[in-house]
Amino acid sequence: MSGEEEENAAELKIGDEFLKAKCLMNCEVSLILEHKYEQLRQTSEDPMNQVSQVFEKSLQYVKRFSRYKNPDAVRQVREILSRYQLAEFELCVLGNLCPETVEEAIAMVPSIKTKGRAHDDEAIEKMLNDLSLIKRFE
């Protein structure tokens, strides 16, 4: 079905250009799209008519599936996850799904264990704890 037989996000095989591209978490996209929508609202009476279907559906989706709403919290999440030598893609999947246990995190992002990097369970647990702290104080 897929054109590139090699593509497999679970193993972080997603094409070199995308490994280096910046990925965005749902909560980050939510802030950006809401801001854009606000700008449109100020310049026209019917902003919904001005945006594409793609924009509208995506806005609905990210608003519903953002784990963090506060811009400071969103910034902190990115900052904390950035400390752990993750690829952009892995960082965003973790930020989107917010696994609660180390097993869940490995199930969501198998590549954090397979690439021979020093991501032991302790480090992953600490990372998840830091994330849940942000949520609690949001």
Partner: protein, 171 residues
């Protein structure tokens, strides 16, 4: 997965939109970009185009001979959405039918999950041994098995699975 991409583009501004003072140029370019995106909708490599975030560079405009329009080579940043094989995401069930369910995730509507035969279908939802049912408007976490780009409709379809640790119905 939402991506932030930086792309070169050629924006053509019709002659009548050019302001004498040139102050509205950026705005005119952004508006043209967004219009072109809305019509183009998606590409195979980058996925669905959502929004233009910043205009990073605007080159020298070249006047086109016959029409008097001006073409500006620009570099801009924008957000796109693309599904990757092996990626795990959350989505909403929006249709239940005989052999499976259709999910909606971001701008993609045609995400299909073929239910295997050990689930029984009763009315408009699926049951398994666990006390939970997959029906319209529930949230599920899935893994992408494969994606397909449909050139004619300019959209993606995907086949996903709910089989796996920590996948399936999300309360």
């Amino acid at each position: 997965m939402f991506l932030k991409v930086q792309l070169p583009w050629n924006v053509v501004i019709p002659a009548e939109n050019l302001d004498a003072k040139g102050l509205m140029l950026q705005k005119a370019i952004v508006i043209r970009l967004m219009d072109e995106f809305a019509t183009k909708k998606a590409t195979k490599d980058l996925g669905y185009f959502l929004a233009v975030t910043t205009l990073d560079k605007v080159g020298e405009g070249k006047v086109r001979q016959n029409t008097g329009d001006v073409m500006f080579p620009v570099v801009f940043s924008g957000i796109t959405f693309k599904l990757y094989r092996g990626e795990i995401l959350e989505g909403v069930v929006h249709k239940v039918f005989k052999h499976g369910v259709l999910l909606r995730c971001g701008p993609v509507e045609n995400i299909c999950r073929i239910i295997n035969i050990c689930l029984r279908r009763i009315n408009a939802f699926f049951l398994n041994d666990m006390p939970s049912k997959i029906e319209k408007d529930v949230v599920v976490r899935f893994i992408v098995i494969g994606t397909k780009w449909l050139e004619a409709d300019r959209e993606f379809q995907a086949l996903v699975s709910l089989d796996g640790d920590y996948l399936g119905l999300i309360a």
